[in-house]
């Protein structure tokens, strides 16, 4: 692995960790429920980015499958929570 790419990966990992911290703060103190759902949405995107950078650094392709799964389940969770906030129930009769 190249030195430039190594340090760029370290920098990107630090930025994503800080972004995850910002989203966690908003999740903890968001005044309305939709703020918390938005913060959760941002958190799963940041976790996916961290996994992708780790996949670049270790040169393994398993990380991409995990990132794809995180994207799918995060979307399902966010859509279900938003639908619950919208209608009061997830699946309408």
């Amino acid at each position: 692995m190249n030195t430039v790419l190594y340090w760029a990966g370290i920098f990107a990992l630090g930025c994503f960790a800080l972004a995850l911290g910002c989203a966690t703060l908003r999740l903890l103190r968001g005044p309305t429920p939709q703020d918390r759902v938005l913060a959760l949405d941002t958190m799963y995107i940041n976790g996916l980015l961290i996994l992708l950078v780790l996949g670049i650094r270790f040169g393994s392709s398993i990380y991409f499958d995990i990132a794809l799964l995180i994207g799918l389940f995060g979307f399902v969770g966010s859509a279900a929570l938003a639908k619950f906030l919208l209608k009061g129930e997830v699946i309408e009769p």
Binding site: T32, Q34, A39, D41, I45, I56, S78, A79
Partner: protein, 107 residues
């Protein structure tokens, strides 16, 4: 591990650094903005450009290591491009509906 050629590692590094800065900007906007409707648009920066840049860097690196073009990372980009507007629309509708029911105090 094989050494990476220079034509792949320098654009990949630039893309990684840009993606880190963009995502950090988006999440800091999520933390700093005052109202929900202005907080809504900040993390979309990280959702679109941040993920796109990291996936481009990943495509560059794995293509340079394997010796042929690897594009299975594009699947994640397609998934997020389809999925994140759906979540944004649902959340926005929920916010509008709840604010119409109970007017939110200005922070």
């Amino acid at each position: 591990m094989t050494t990476l050629p220079l034509w792949a590692s320098i654009p990949a590094s630039i893309l990684l650094v840009l993606s880190g800065i963009l995502t950090l900007t988006g999440s800091a906007g999520l933390l700093r903005f005052k109202r929900f409707y202005s907080r809504m648009h900040a993390p979309t920066l990280g959702n679109t450009l941040g993920v796109g840049f990291v996936l481009l860097a990943s495509i560059l690196v794995s293509s340079a290591i394997e010796g042929h073009i690897v594009i299975h990372q594009l699947l994640i980009t397609f998934l997020l491009v389809i999925v994140s507007p759906v979540t944004a629309i649902l959340l926005m509708q929920a916010g509008l509906r709840r604010d119409a029911r109970r007017p939110v105090p200005d922070e």
